[in-house]
């Protein structure tokens, strides 16, 4: 299971980084989502991987899974979801204004 999770994080990150280095805004947005999936899985795994364990402290239960990474992941999911929405809206706005979806700036836009 460790191998599976670790390689999933690795593949997602690699694909995400490849995508955000693309020139068009759509692949960049997709790449950002892939990266945030990767980091969410990574955060989840930081509490160590265990199966079928309760995350809540209770009398008589001797083994737990760590609840904090789950709370962190929830926060991170919400934030990355919101951020993806923001970047989609921004990219759409830029697409409409500039009538192309290139992510780089030409000389005039660059303030030259």
């Amino acid at each position: 299971m460790e191998l599976l999770v670790a390689s999933a994080i690795g593949v997602l990150t690699a694909a995400g980084i490849y995508m955000i280095l693309r020139l068009r805004s759509f692949p960049v947005v997709v790449g950002m989502s892939l990266l945030s999936y990767a980091v969410n899985v990574f955060l989840f795994a930081t509490g160590r991987l265990v199966i079928n364990q309760p995350p809540i402290l209770r009398d008589g239960v001797t083994s737990y899974t760590d609840p904090i990474p789950q709370a962190l992941v929830l926060t991170a999911i919400v934030i990355s979801f919101g951020m993806t929405a923001v970047v989609v809206m921004l990219a759409l706005g830029a697409f409409i204004e500039a009538s192309n979806d290139r992510i780089d700036l030409d000389g005039e836009e660059d303030g030259q």
Partner: protein, 563 residues
């Protein structure tokens, strides 16, 4: 009672911003009044907190009265108080400028976004929890995305996309870093981290070093250190003038985080050793050179100022990278100075852009602008301060940094030569914009006109003047200021003050709480838990020695919550 004021710099803007959006939506005048009032309250509050922080050890605010390291804490020490004050001065001045120049009516929600921005920045300076720092980074970034594209337009939206994507990638990296650190240390409370990391055996420090280095990369993105400075010039040039001025404090959030984390959690004497110093020093040198050469090579006034921000970040990081008390206090002085002056220069660039019409900020021949002499004089003062020439605060700041790094001739050479380059660069830009205009004869109908939006140019000039006056005040009061900053730096280099303020006394408070709320079963469990945790810590058991039954691996400390 005093304790509760610590959270006020976060709560007040957080309450005011939705009020402005929901209640004053269609009335710009009310919005302006509310915004100025809010900023003034923040300023007063920052002064009060600064006085309070100067008098004693760091003060702690425990949200929901959860005992650290379980809950989130806000910590007010001298450094965070200083940053709060700087932020609130900048916030007030920028709101005044935005009103005076009419920027706030060129799009929706300028004032509420400003309040959200203040909330995020203040929170980032106050928080004592690493994950909470991430959350406040996101708050300030979301607000800054809105402010960045305020007013719209092709160039602004496109560079806005770049800015957002760059920072989202940075945030992802931040999460990776926090995950790594949590996996090793089992806590994200900064004081608790400091204690746990210090107890880590040196031969098992590989993973925490990875975490520390990742965190450094994240903060380097925020602070625009080489090789992460690419987002800055286009963003700052295309952002609305007042917003670019506000962004002068945003790079300092990254700088603050570096100073905080690498004096408290990963000190140079600790487990991770000279890691931070080794990364920062060369990065700062290259940043300084690129910034100052950028000033010389820029083809627009906006870019000149943006590159001077990069250069000033490089200068102050040279000081902070020494990780000595003297150099840090010099770096803090330079940071205060460069924030004020960079903001002033962005406002001056905006004054020029507003009046120059179709020529914009390009360093080309253009006719004379309205209020030519006054703006030229302001630019002259700002450029002198930024380049580090006497008599303004930039000179003193650089002098202090050079004094604190005596003996490092390479560093001296870099600072002095780049200062010369900056002077030439500013001279070139200033003479092109202000002096060459005498040679250009414009047609009467082509003469640049001040923007029609400006409701009160006098207010805009006053706002710019306040920032430059801040630089003058910093020069005149250099003695008291540097004494205060030396004490701040001394506090930073005795991190035990910080950790004690956060962690000490937890047991006594827990017993008190247990006495009061003995019937509350849920609380009792938590308190019991904390007692056993404290027991482990005080009876000298190495934190990584006790293995709990949940741990699937040995050699790591159990995550705090599983005890």
């Amino acid at each position: 009672m005093m304790d509760h004021w610590i959270i006020a710099p976060v709560v007040i803007p957080a309450m005011l911003a939705p009020l402005i959006v929901l209640w004053m939506r269609y009335d710009l005048v009310t919005q302006r009044v509310a915004s100025i009032l809010g900023m003034s309250v923040l300023l007063v509050l920052a002064i009060v907190l600064m006085v309070s922080a100067s008098m004693g050890p760091p003060e702690v605010y425990r949200l929901g009265n959860w005992e650290p390291p379980y809950g989130i804490v806000l910590v007010l020490d001298r450094l965070s108080a200083l940053m709060l004050l700087l932020t609130s001065i900048l916030g007030l001045v920028i709101v005044l400028y935005a009103i005076g120049s009419g920027w706030d009516k060129r799009g929706w929600h300028f004032h509420s976004l400003m309040q959200f921005q203040m909330m995020g920045i203040n929170g980032a300076f106050l928080t004592g929890d690493a994950f909470n720092l991430f959350v406040f980074f996101e708050v300030l970034l979301i607000a800054s995305y809105g402010l960045m594209i305020h007013g719209g337009g092709r160039a602004r939206l496109k560079s806005g996309v770049q800015y957002v994507v760059y920072n989202l990638a940075g945030s992802t990296l931040f999460l990776f870093a926090l995950g790594t650190i949590y996996a090793v240390a089992g806590t994200l409370n900064m004081a608790d981290l400091a204690v746990k990391v210090a107890q880590m055996p040196a031969d098992q420090s590989a993973l925490i070093k990875v975490g520390a280095a990742l965190l450094m990369l994240v903060f380097a993105v925020k602070a625009a250190l080489v090789p992460f400075q690419f987002w800055l010039p286009a963003t700052y040039t295309n952002a609305p003038g007042p917003v670019a001025a506000l962004f002068a404090i945003m790079t300092k959030v990254g700088v603050y985080a570096i100073v905080r984390v690498y004096t408290l959690i990963f000190p140079i004497t600790g487990t991770t050793g000279t890691l931070a110093h080794d990364i920062l020093l060369p990065a700062a040198m290259v940043t300084l050179v690129i910034g100052m050469v950028g000033i010389l090579g820029a083809r627009s006034l906006g870019r000149v100022v943006a590159y001077s921000v990069i250069g000033s970040v490089g200068t102050m990081m040279l000081a902070f990278a020494q990780f000595t008390q003297g150099a840090t206090s010099a770096g803090l002085y330079y940071m205060v100075h460069s924030t004020l002056v960079a903001a002033a220069l962005f406002l001056i660039a905006d004054l020029v852009r507003e009046r120059r019409g179709r020529w914009g900020l390009a360093l080309t021949d253009a006719p004379k602008i309205a209020q030519h002499g006054l703006i030229a004089a302001l630019f002259f003062a700002g450029a002198i301060a930024m380049a580090g020439m006497p008599p303004l605060s930039g000179f003193l700041g650089k002098l202090m940094i050079l004094d604190a790094t005596r003996g490092q001739w390479g560093l001296w050479a870099v600072v002095l030569i780049t200062s010369l380059i900056a002077i030439v660069g500013f001279g070139r830009a200033g003479s092109q914009v202000f002096w060459r205009s005498y040679a250009v004869e414009a047609e009467e109908d082509e003469r640049p006109q001040p923007s029609k939006d400006a409701s009160s140019p006098a207010l805009a000039f006053t706002a710019t003047g306040i920032l430059l006056a801040g630089s003058v005040a910093l020069t005149v009061l250099a003695g008291p200021a540097s004494t205060w900053l030396q004490a701040t730096s001394a506090q930073l280099f005795t991190p035990v003050q910080y950790t004690d303020a956060v962690l000490a006394g937890a047991e006594a408070r827990a017993q008190e709480a247990a006495r009061i709320g003995a019937h509350d079963h849920g609380h009792m469990e938590v308190i019991e838990e904390m007692r056993s945790e404290d027991g482990h810590a005080t009876d000298g058991t190495a934190t990584d020695g006790h293995t709990t039954d949940t741990q699937t691996e040995t050699g790591h400390d159990a995550p705090a919550a599983t005890h």
